[in-house]
């Protein structure tokens, strides 16, 4: 990205008459203003979300974060984010657990195994999966996937492994945390796999050829050369995928079923931060409820900011280490 090197030193240019400098200054000012605007926008988002949740913050403080309650009945109002944070973490963790091996497998297939003519169409297909709108995936999730999972997989897992608390009795409707996990893992699969694919493509071929020439099998070469080389980048890709899973609201709202409780059964309903907010879109009955919903949004914003900044930090560090000048992938 050295494209701006020439234009970045305007003092050395000839013919810098007054009008010329005015035009340059005007374009720089407008364009720089737009860039500044983006920066201000991020600050404004953080400030306004804090501002909107202020009534709830001043009433509940940080106790809101751990309390398990959501009672909007006027006179008995009590709100807390505990169960929603739990739901967010458990759905995104298990989604990542399912999606990671699949995504790495797809990326390895595309970079190391696939014949050349398969690579381009499969890459396009996997990235097409990322373009499917979340509301359509959610529609499919609630009407097709949920019932199918309940009758086939959930009831089987419950009867075979019911003694593990994770596999409780399936809910009647087919809407469950498990459905949300499957839907989320489908949604983050293309992100993690396309970043990993780029990382694997960046492994210097001489390292790979060197390993193969020493007599390793392809898998030993991947384990010994490709994975260690791409380790940092894969961590960043996983964190980005986790952030995406935590922030997804619509598809989760459609399939998760709702509920305010902490339990370990994946087959009952629940709520995440995002799904609780989205499900309440038709309006809150009191100001305190509305502020508490915005407080949920604030917690979600903080979680996703942490995930994003951590991932970007890793990406930049890795790029420095490998001497690559390219920026982040998000």
């Amino acid at each position: 990205m050295s494209a701006a090197d020439v234009t970045a030193t305007p003092t050395r240019r000839p013919f810098t008459g007054r009008r010329v400098r005015f035009g340059d200054a005007a374009l720089q000012l407008v364009a720089g203003g737009a860039a500044l605007g983006a920066t201000v926008l991020v600050g404004l988002i953080i400030w306004k979300v804090i501002d909107g949740s202020r009534p709830s913050i001043s009433k509940y403080g940080l106790g809101f974060v751990t309390r398990v309650a959501w009672n909007p009945v006027v006179g008995h109002e009590l709100y807390g984010a505990g169960s929603f944070i739990f739901g967010t973490l458990i759905t995104s963790f298990f989604a990542l657990l399912i999606a990671t091996p699949l995504a790495l497998g797809v990326a390895l297939f595309l970079t190391e195994l696939a014949p050349r003519w398969i690579q381009a169409p499969v890459t396009a297909l996997v990235e097409t999966l990322a373009a499917v709108p979340s509301v359509v995936i959610g529609l499919w999730g609630i009407l097709v996937l949920g019932p199918a999972l309940r009758t086939n997989i959930e009831s089987w897992l419950h009867s075979a492994f019911g003694w593990i608390p994770l596999f409780g009795p399936p809910s009647a409707a087919g809407a469950s945390i498990f459905t949300a996990i499957v839907v989320l893992s489908i949604m983050i699969l293309p992100i993690v796999s396309s970043i990993s694919r780029e990382l694997f493509l960046g492994v210097p071929p001489e390292l790979k050829e060197g390993a193969l020439a020493l007599g390793t099998t392809r898998w030993e070469m991947i384990r010994g050369v490709v994975f260690p080389y791409a380790r940092g980048g894969i961590a960043a890709a996983l964190i980005l995928g986790l952030g995406r899973a935590m922030g997804e609201a619509i598809a989760v709202t459609q399939v998760i079923g709702g509920g305010v409780f902490i339990h370990w059964s994946l087959f009952s309903g629940g709520d995440t931060l995002g799904s609780k907010i989205a499900a309440s879109y038709q309006g809150a009955s009191t100001d305190l409820q509305s502020a508490s919903l915005i407080y949920l949004g604030l917690i979600l914003l903080v979680l996703s900011l942490i995930a994003n900044i951590a991932a970007q930090g890793i990406v930049r560090q890795v790029a420095k280490k490998h001497g690559v000048t390219r920026g982040g992938h998000a």
């Binding site: 234009t7 340059d24 203003g33």
Partner: protein, 298 residues
């Protein structure tokens, strides 16, 4: 496979080689399986939306409006949602496109490296803010107190588009060869004219495809619109100062309904949305690779 002859150690005896080859075969098979599963998932999603959507597709969907609490079998459509999506996505593009291009021009043509990295990080952070939080932000900033409208919905979608448009434009601008800028500057043309009449026209194809991709992305967005343009009537309206129904929000509401007739309309609308988005993003991707070659002059 001469490794075991060279080293000769006991670790490289034949039975180990057989085991290593088996492990390798197993792992390669798993990678093939992963790719097959990923493609199968896409196939299943698209196929079931297409199968259910195609059979429910009819002209009423686009030409008729929904009838609230209808108990009869009178034909209903989502005409209001299609009109609203056109208005809101159009307005969002008008808001995000100029700002996104200006940011990209600043970062690629003027900014010193430290600022470029800093604002690049800001754009990545903005792209990582969950869509539902953007919806809450616009709700607190604009909707709370004064009510929803299509313009406010468009503003929230524009925030989602902005980092995307800026990023793709930066990538295209970086492809424009420096020799062009040097030639123009060497002829005494000031930097601003070089940017506006040499660099940007060269990059226009890439900017258009980037915009199409961004439109395809936000056309299916539901979350930001729930709080900014969702409490709507059932009549078709093109007035952006009112809250307008959109296709994703309509699908979201219909999917939560217990009525199978509502599900049928949701499938049909989802099918149209999916076809539009897949067509737009695939053709934009195809155009992008062609343009990248052309811009770089290869």
């Amino acid at each position: 496979m001469s490794a075991q002859q060279l080293t000769g150690g006991p670790d490289f005896r034949t039975n180990h080689l057989v085991r290593r080859k088996r492990v390798n075969m197993g792992m390669e098979a798993l990678a093939w399986l992963a790719a097959a599963i990923a493609i199968a998932i896409l196939g299943i999603v698209v196929w079931s939306v297409a199968r259910k959507g195609w059979s429910e597709l009819n002209l009423d969907l686009i030409t008729k409006n929904p009838i609230p609490f209808s108990l009869t079998n009178a034909p209903q459509g989502l005409s209001n949602a299609f009109a609203g999506t056109l208005v809101i996505v159009g307005l969002a593009t008008l808001m995000a496109l100029p700002v996104g291009i200006l940011i990209a021009v600043y970062l690629n043509e003027f900014a010193p490296p430290s600022i470029r990295t800093g604002i690049g990080l800001i754009l990545d952070i903005l792209a990582g803010v969950p869509a539902i939080v953007i919806g809450i932000f616009v709700f607190v900033l604009l909707v709370s107190g004064s009510g929803q409208s299509a313009v406010k919905g468009a503003f929230s979608l524009a925030i989602l588009m902005l980092p995307f448009v800026a990023r793709t434009t930066i990538e295209v601008l970086a492809l424009v060869p420096n020799s062009l800028r040097e030639a123009s500057l060497g002829l005494g043309i000031p930097a601003w004219r070089t940017t506006l009449s040499i660099v940007l026209p060269r990059a226009i194809g890439g900017i258009v495809t980037g915009t199409v991709l961004a439109v395809a992305r936000v056309a299916g967005e539901t979350a930001p619109l729930l709080f900014t343009s969702s409490l709507v009537g059932t009549q078709t309206s093109w007035n952006p100062s009112h809250a307008l129904q959109t296709v994703p929000v309509a699908i979201f509401e219909l999917s939560e309904s217990p009525d199978p007739k509502d599900h049928a309309r949701a499938w049909a609308a989802g099918f149209i949305l999916l076809v539009f988005i897949l067509f737009a993003s695939l053709s934009a991707r195809w155009l992008a690779t062609r343009h990248a070659r052309k811009i770089a002059g290869r």
